[in-house]
């Protein structure tokens, strides 16, 4: 078993939320979605160029669903031959040019086709993060069967995130995190705009790196510096230290993050204030309050 036989798979999940990117294009035109995709492609190419056995997958995460940009249904596996005259003509390693073209084509399809018919649905005031997590994980589960027996696959996921977290997918997300931890799959996160508590937890639990980049235009540099090395190589490098993760729970009543709270012993729901009946499971509780001292009726005290 040599290092050559080991396959390193990098799955890059790109958040292509059109609402955020559209607004971003108007806010800071230096980093547009195109530029972001270019940077991601650079990272993908670099990864594949490092070792012959490295594999790549790119997933675009849209509002409601996700799509494989690479490999996709147009990809016919290693044997392209000369059928597709899609090489870029600059002497590039053919695998890379094929990959790039496929990605570009697919993202065009994704971004242009999805919008009609969904406009009414998108007219909401909440910005949602799409369910990229479910798709990529399922992909990773399929992998051992796509390759021949005897090949070990080490995989990691890099999430390039733009928009904010959606609280409604919390359970799915946590399940995916723990499953990834069990399978020794690292989850890294490169965050462009606002910090995501969920991704911080994911990185902390699986052992990956979480980075919120200060300069969006230098995205490619950050990707190459921090996220190109795999987990073994990272131990030899000086990389940004892990951030402090806020593991506080949120109370069920207000969704405030609390440090000390009340937990119902029957249904384990968390509250920030004591209430005699748990609102989730309707169990009645008694708590011993400190004895109320009866105010003594005395002459009026001198006010201090």
């Amino acid at each position: 078993f040599s290092a050559e036989d080991e396959i390193n798979l990098l799955v890059i999940v790109v958040d292509v939320n059109p609402i955020w990117w559209g607004q971003q294009a108007q806010r800071e035109p230096e980093l547009t979605l195109s530029k972001c995709l270019d940077a991601v492609m650079v990272l993908g190419n670099s990864h594949m160029a490092m070792t012959r056995t490295n594999k790549l997958a790119v997933i675009a995460s849209h509002c409601q669903d996700s799509h494989f940009l690479y490999p996709n249904k147009n990809w016919r596996g290693g044997d392209n031959g000369g059928e597709d005259a899609s090489s870029s003509g600059d002497g590039k390693y053919e695998l890379l040019s094929v990959a790039n073209n496929l990605i570009a084509e697919e993202i065009r399809n994704v971004m242009t086709k999805k919008v009609e018919g969904r406009q009414t649905f998108l007219l909401s005031s909440l910005i949602m993060l799409s369910n990229w997590h479910g798709v990529s994980y399922r992909y990773l589960l399929m992998l051992p069967f796509l390759f021949s027996v005897g090949q070990e696959i080490k995989s990691r996921i890099l999430v390039v995130k733009a928009a904010e977290d959606c609280a409604r997918q919390y359970m799915n997300f946590m399940n995916v995190i723990f499953a990834a931890q069990k399978q020794n799959i690292l989850i890294d996160a490169c965050v462009l705009d606002s910090d995501s508590g969920l991704l911080q937890q994911a990185c902390d639990i699986t052992g990956g790196l979480y980075l919120k980049i200060p300069q969006k235009i230098a995205l490619a540099q950050y990707l190459l510096w921090v996220f190109l090395p795999d987990s073994e190589q990272r131990s030899q490098l000086v990389l940004p230290p892990p951030a402090h993760v806020d593991y506080r729970a949120a109370c069920f009543c207000h969704r405030n993050l609390i440090e000390i709270g009340y937990v119902c012993s029957v249904c384990l729901s968390i509250f920030c204030n004591f209430s005699p009946i748990c609102t989730t499971c309707e169990t009645a509780f008694k708590i011993q309050l400190p004895q109320m001292v009866k105010p003594k009726k005395k002459k009026l005290k001198q006010s201090t």
């Binding site: 919008v115 005031s125 904010e164 980049i213 940004p240 949120a250 609102t279 989730t280």
Partner: protein, 538 residues
């Protein structure tokens, strides 16, 4: 001074102490002596303080009783009544003999308990050292909360003294030593005597009857060992022996017990006899004997051994039976069926093989289960986007991406790249948090250990302090003031030197900030209470 409620058990007049005439009083919890004519006691000792008592030997002219205390002091009482001195002294001695053991155990028990607690719990021991040995609080306060259940009626399992059993070979262990001229010398200790009394209650009875009126102790035991009662063969030929009665008593006792029967309905003692199947299987009853005399000697010696054996085993057999039938022993005929049933039931059922008793469960009834799915993210999102914005954004993106072509040569400018590299290099913006080492890696372990002890001690003191509030009794008032002085003393003697020490070691971290904060809170609370109290008084 004697309290009126103390019960006086014995009064002995004409008892001298230190060449002074007086009266000796034995009360419920102490012994006291007062001089003649005076009302008060000059000497008073609690039974708990007395370690042991001593009496003067019989031959001496002076009849004295000496009390030795745990501290080593001793007090001597001289009984000087011409007629009844000896009787008085003996009466006092016997009463003391009964009372002292009761109190002795209690005092020792407390000390033992304290020692045990300190030994078992190193944290407690450290706390004790920090607080009591350095005199921050007194030992009484320290033990006040912890020995709460010591004085309860039921003692802890550790202190339950079990009766020491008798070794089965105790008689054989009294190995006699030859004293040179064809005699045997037996060494008897109080333990052996007690064992003999417990095994042979008849002997105890005889002892009570004969000693010291008819025989001295020495004579009694000599006769005991000489008697055939003691020896193995136990042929009860001699009737002058006072112990032959014991043997007869034992036999009678055995017979009655057998007749009474065992309470266990599954055991029928009377049907136990040698049963033979045929000649050669078991004992045959019809063997013609060669000579009567031989048989009787042999049989009787066998019988003697068997009797001895039975005598030893019978108490076990019968006592265990009575304890296990749980009070069904009153009217055995009437209650026979249930007892038998219980017995049979016990024999055929095994508890751990039964099916487990399922506890009654209550179903979980969740009304709002979607709450669990919501993550620790606030419900309201920060951004509010108008529908027009959304349409604009989407269109913009669509427009941008419809002609997307990767332009990988223009991805990064060199300035952007170099600034990113600077941020990622050691000392850069993104690397700053790494230099903050965990505090426990920077402080040496002894300092950490000391800090832990300080926290434990401070916590204990603060617990005492805060438990005084609300202050609604004069006892609590005193305690709260005492605790405040204790806290101040603790701060001065323990906290400040520690702070200075770590400052000298150039440790700039503030390790004691929190401790000081806690102490300050306590002081301010005390101050508030004190001012309120003053106002109330005015």
């Amino acid at each position: 001074m004697a309290s009126l409620s103390e019960e006086v058990l014995l009064v002995v007049k004409k008892v001298r102490q230190r060449k002074q005439d007086g009266t000796l009083y034995l009360m419920a919890e102490r012994i006291a002596w007062g001089p003649e004519g005076k009302d008060r006691f000059t000497v008073s000792h609690l039974y708990a303080d007395i370690r042991c008592q001593k009496i003067s030997p019989d031959g001496k002219a002076k009849i004295q009783l000496q009390l030795i205390l745990h501290t080593g002091e001793s007090t001597t009482f001289h009984f000087s009544n011409e007629s009844s001195a000896l009787k008085d002294r003996d009466a006092a001695k016997e009463l003391l003999q009964q009372l002292l053991p009761k109190f002795k155990k209690k005092a020792n028990k407390e000390l033992e308990e304290k020692n045990r607690m300190l030994q078992e719990d190193p944290v407690l021991f450290q706390l004790y050292k920090d607080l009591v040995v350095s005199q921050v609080i007194s030992a009484d306060e320290f033990w006040a909360n912890r020995l709460g259940d010591m004085n309860n009626s039921d003692p802890t399992p550790y202190n339950n003294k079990q009766d020491v059993g008798i070794s089965g070979a105790f008689l054989a262990d009294i190995r006699p030593q030859t004293d040179g001229c064809n005699g045997l010398r037996y060494n008897l200790t109080a333990d052996i005597i007690e064992s003999i009394f417990r095994t042979y209650p008849a002997v105890k009875q005889k002892y009570g009857e004969n000693v010291p009126h008819n025989l001295t102790e020495k004579e009694f035991w000599t006769r005991f060992f000489q008697s055939h009662y003691f020896h193995r063969d136990r042929i009860n030929t001699g009737t002058q022996d006072i112990f032959s009665e014991c043997a007869k008593q034992d036999e009678k006792g055995l017979k009655s017990m057998v007749v009474q029967g065992v309470k266990n309905p599954l055991v029928d003692l009377l049907s136990l006899e040698d049963k033979t199947l045929d000649e050669g299987y078991g004992v045959s009853t019809t063997t013609p004997s060669t000579s009567n005399a031989n048989r009787t000697v042999k049989e009787s010696s066998n019988a003697a051994i068997i009797k001895r054996f039975n005598h030893h085993k019978v108490p076990f057999f019968f006592s265990s039976e009575t304890s296990s039938t749980d009070g069904n022993s009153r009217d055995s005929d009437f209650f026979q069926p249930p007892v038998k049933k219980v017995r049979l039931q016990e024999a055929i059922e095994y508890e751990d093989l039964q099916r487990e008793n399922r506890l009654k469960t209550v179903a979980l009834n969740l009304k709002k289960s979607d709450r669990y799915a919501h993550g620790p993210v606030p419900l309201q999102s920060q951004h509010y986007t108008t529908s027009q914005d959304i349409i604009n954004s989407v269109n913009h993106i669509r427009h941008e991406m419809v002609n997307y072509k990767p332009n990988l040569t223009q991805v990064l400018s060199s300035t952007a790249a170099s600034s990113a590299i600077t941020a990622l290099s050691p000392g850069g913006v993104l690397m700053m948090t790494g230099t903050q080492q965990a505090i426990n890696q920077m402080i040496p372990t002894e300092v950490q250990g000391e800090l832990k002890h300080l926290y434990a001690a401070a916590g204990e003191l603060l617990r005492h302090f805060w438990s005084c509030f609300p202050v609604n009794s004069p006892f609590l008032e005193e305690k709260v003031m005492k605790m405040k002085t204790n806290l101040e003393r603790f701060q001065m003697t323990k906290l400040c030197p520690f702070q200075e020490k770590i400052q000298r070691q150039y440790l700039s971290t503030n390790l004691t900030g929190h401790l000081e904060e806690m102490l300050q809170t306590a002081y301010s609370k005390f101050h508030v209470w004190q001012t309120r109290r003053m106002l109330r008084k005015t």
